[in-house]
């Protein structure tokens, strides 16, 4: 029984590109700050709109910078920096309509900013005074999700709710969910792809491929470019320059509109880089070379916008100085808010677990209360 595997071997080697290869990387603004066009992604922005984007980028980096400092000074337990991912987050965040719903991981500080969340709110979780800190309904920005990938199913279910509410159409609603390159390996994320495609749910999967999952490079999660994962589930996948705020805006906007109009899900891979440590407790020197970091510095998401504004004479020094000053203000305000955050009342530990009161929790609460006051009285006693 003879078998010829040769031809097969050939076809096999054809089956995939390297995950770090850059096919069809959609870009509208080069690292050097030159505006380019893409036939599928026309984008017209007024100077004010571009300046507004620049402002967003600078401010969220400044907030992130402040948070890192606060952690170093012991005011935060930990912080997950978005350094390097500002364009991906601001570009996608500004593509959302107020009625759309966003589901973040723990790193979407830039998206939070675009949704109008007070930066101080983000610090609560990292300071350890709350597990969430904001009302998701207020800004249609869900709570940070720490368990990798879990939120992709929540977003998909939410999108199925949009369908059931009949809110799909010309001015319909859509959900967007953020996750990382590492998250694409979780069963939940792939199940979300299945649900979203089978129900054609209005959800956009926004994957920030920052090349690393803590210490693991992209190759540990996939052997082909991540945006191609969508092919296996029958919906469009696209790779965008994640350090290009224009491209991220245009691509996300189109995917969101398609979702709102009932064309179903899209996977967007924002090709970017985690410029900092995974979190403030991580030490990247153990696993990656500074050369890589240097090469990405040349692709900085903010610098290219600044160059574009200057070249096109849309902005002068005073503008940049103004933004820098505002950034400092925001940083100071955020710091102040952080330092003023009171620790929670220990007894609040028992609140909000159930909608209806629980006898057991009331009993335990009373126990802790009595226990705490016993010390108080001791103090008094002395």
């Amino acid at each position: 029984m003879a078998v010829k595997a040769a031809g097969r071997a050939a076809s096999r080697s054809r089956t995939h590109d390297k995950p770090t290869a850059k096919p069809e990387l959609i870009q509208l603004l080069t690292p050097e700050g030159e505006r380019t066009e893409h036939p599928d992604y026309p984008l017209e922005l007024t100077p004010d709109e571009i300046k507004a984007l620049y402002r967003d980028l600078v401010l969220v980096r400044r907030i992130d910078f402040e948070a890192i400092a606060l952690q170093r000074q012991g005011e935060l337990g930990i912080w997950a920096s978005l350094l390097g991912q500002e364009a991906a987050q601001v570009g996608s965040g500004r593509a959302l309509a107020p009625r759309d719903m966003a589901f973040p991981t723990y790193r979407e500080h830039g998206v939070a900013w675009c949704r109008g969340l007070d930066p101080a709110k983000l610090l609560e979780l990292y300071r350890g005074v709350s597990h969430g800190g904001w009302d998701p309904k207020e800004h249609n920005f869900h709570l940070y999700t720490i368990v990798i990938g879990a939120q992709t199913l929540h977003a998909t279910g939410y999108a199925m709710g949009i369908q059931r509410d009949g809110a799909v159409g010309e001015d319909g609603e859509a959900a967007i969910v953020y996750f990382g390159d590492g998250a694409t390996s979780q069963g939940d994320v792939n199940e979300a792809f299945i649900w979203a495609s089978v129900y054609n749910a209005p959800v956009v999967f926004f994957c920030q491929n920052n090349q690393w999952a803590i210490s693991e490079p992209l190759e540990r999660q996939t052997r082909i470019p991540l945006y191609q994962r969508a092919r296996g589930f029958g919906f469009p996948g696209v790779r965008v320059d994640g350090n290009d705020v224009f491209a991220c805006l245009a691509v996300t906007r189109q995917a969101m509109q398609a979702a709102r109009e009932g064309q179903g899900p899209t996977l967007i891979e924002a090709f970017t880089y985690r410029m900092g440590a995974h979190t403030t407790t991580d030490d990247p020197t153990r696993y990656r070379l500074s050369a890589e970091l240097e090469s990405w510095k040349l692709k900085d998401p903010i610098e290219r916008v600044k160059q574009y504004l200057i070249r096109s004479a849309m902005a002068q020094e005073d503008f940049f100085a103004g933004i820098a000053a505002e950034a400092d203000e925001v940083g100071t305000r955020t710091r102040k808010a952080c330092l003023e955050m009171p620790d929670p009342d220990p007894l609040s530990m028992f609140d909000n677990i159930y909608a209806e009161p629980s006898a057991l929790l009331a009993e335990e609460r009373a126990q802790l209360d009595a226990y705490l006051s016993s010390f108080a009285s001791e103090e008094v006693g002395r």
Partner: protein, 331 residues
């Protein structure tokens, strides 16, 4: 759709309860594997897709984490999903979504979010099934703060409890005694929920004076029969159907044990680390001066669920309950 049969099977009672809930609130959805045309492998959702449509009764892809995870998302959008897990042994792929998301979202959001999701799980053995179809994992959920865990024991309770669970703003893990699906009792379909016992209260199904037997789900009938047998021997057993496994109705439990002075806890799940451990630990502490004998636990052995041909030796039955009662009196 309301021909009101006097006597209903537990499966049909749940079906009627679901129907009522869906009629009362358009936000109520049913989702799971084979819940549509088939009506679920135990027919609990029989006919509901036909009457309420595919948008409200969803045959989902085959993945439990996906079912619960998307139900959470639907709840965040204002829906009240009722998820069916086809068999007890298949809830584990959804364990992460249940434990880290469903149970914790209200707390995480400091009460700004509520997830009124019901996860229905047919549980327990005694039906001659293959592996993974006879598990009793309730203790695993009762240890997780943020969840309500309940088990229905008869059709009348099933009809009211499933509606109460759906109306509850907290996530509810709803256990259904698989081998009792075809048991029948009278169910008052007309009467509303106002008269029904609250979801978090235990029910004394047989009053007695000598010993308190605590049970739930499939063991309720077993213990009631044991009480009848004991009565004929002049021993008075009080049988309490816990119904709510988390939180426990401590008040009802303690009051009974303090009266009888003896306590036996019965469930199908392995005794080791089972719900009976929590009940026994609390009763032993809270009723210390009243107990004339230690709290005894009757349940599955510390083994995986055995092949069905010998499951009758694994499962507590009338004799093993009475045997435990006898031992309680031997102290």
């Amino acid at each position: 759709m309301t021909d009101t049969p006097a006597r209903l099977t537990l499966s049909r009672a749940l079906n009627e309860g679901l129907r009522k809930a869906m009629e009362n609130d358009p936000k109520v959805l049913i989702m799971g594997e084979d819940v549509g045309k088939l009506g679920g492998v135990f027919r609990v959702s029989d006919g509901l897709q036909k009457d309420f449509g595919e948008d409200r009764v969803l045959d989902t892809p085959l993945a439990e984490s996906g079912i619960v995870g998307t139900a959470i998302g639907l709840a965040l959008r204002g829906y009240r999903p009722v998820c069916e897990i086809q068999f007890d042994g298949f809830v584990f792929p959804a364990f992460d979504q249940i434990v880290s998301q469903l149970a914790k979202m209200a707390y995480r959001s400091a009460g700004k979010l509520r997830l009124p999701v019901v996860v229905r799980i047919p549980f327990g053995g005694g039906i001659g099934a293959v592996e993974h179809h006879s598990e009793s994992p309730e203790a695993l959920f009762a240890h997780v703060a943020g969840l309500r865990v309940v088990a229905c024991g008869d059709p009348a309770d099933a009809y009211a409890m499933i509606q109460q669970a759906i109306n509850c703003d907290d996530p509810v893990i709803f256990f259904e005694p698989k081998r009792r699906y075809w048991d029948k009792t009278d169910v008052d379909l007309a009467g509303g929920l106002a008269a029904a016992l609250p979801l978090d209260r235990a029910r004394t199904v047989v009053t007695g004076t000598d010993v308190t037997v605590l049970c739930y789900g499939p063991m309720v009938r077993t213990c009631v029969e044991a009480a009848a047998a004991a009565a004929s021997e002049g021993r008075s057993i009080e049988v309490i159907d816990l119904r709510s496994l988390a939180p426990l109705d401590a008040e009802t439990i303690f009051a009974s044990v303090r009266r009888t002075g003896r306590c036996v806890v019965v469930h199908e799940a392995p005794v080791t680390g089972g719900l009976g451990a929590q009940v026994a630990a609390r009763v032993s502490q809270e009723c210390f001066y009243y107990l004339e004998s230690p709290v005894l636990r009757v349940g599955g052995y510390s083994t995986p669920y055995p092949p069905s041909r010998i499951e009758d030796h694994y499962l507590p039955d009338l004799d093993r309950v009475l045997d435990a009662v006898d031992r309680a009196f031997a102290y």
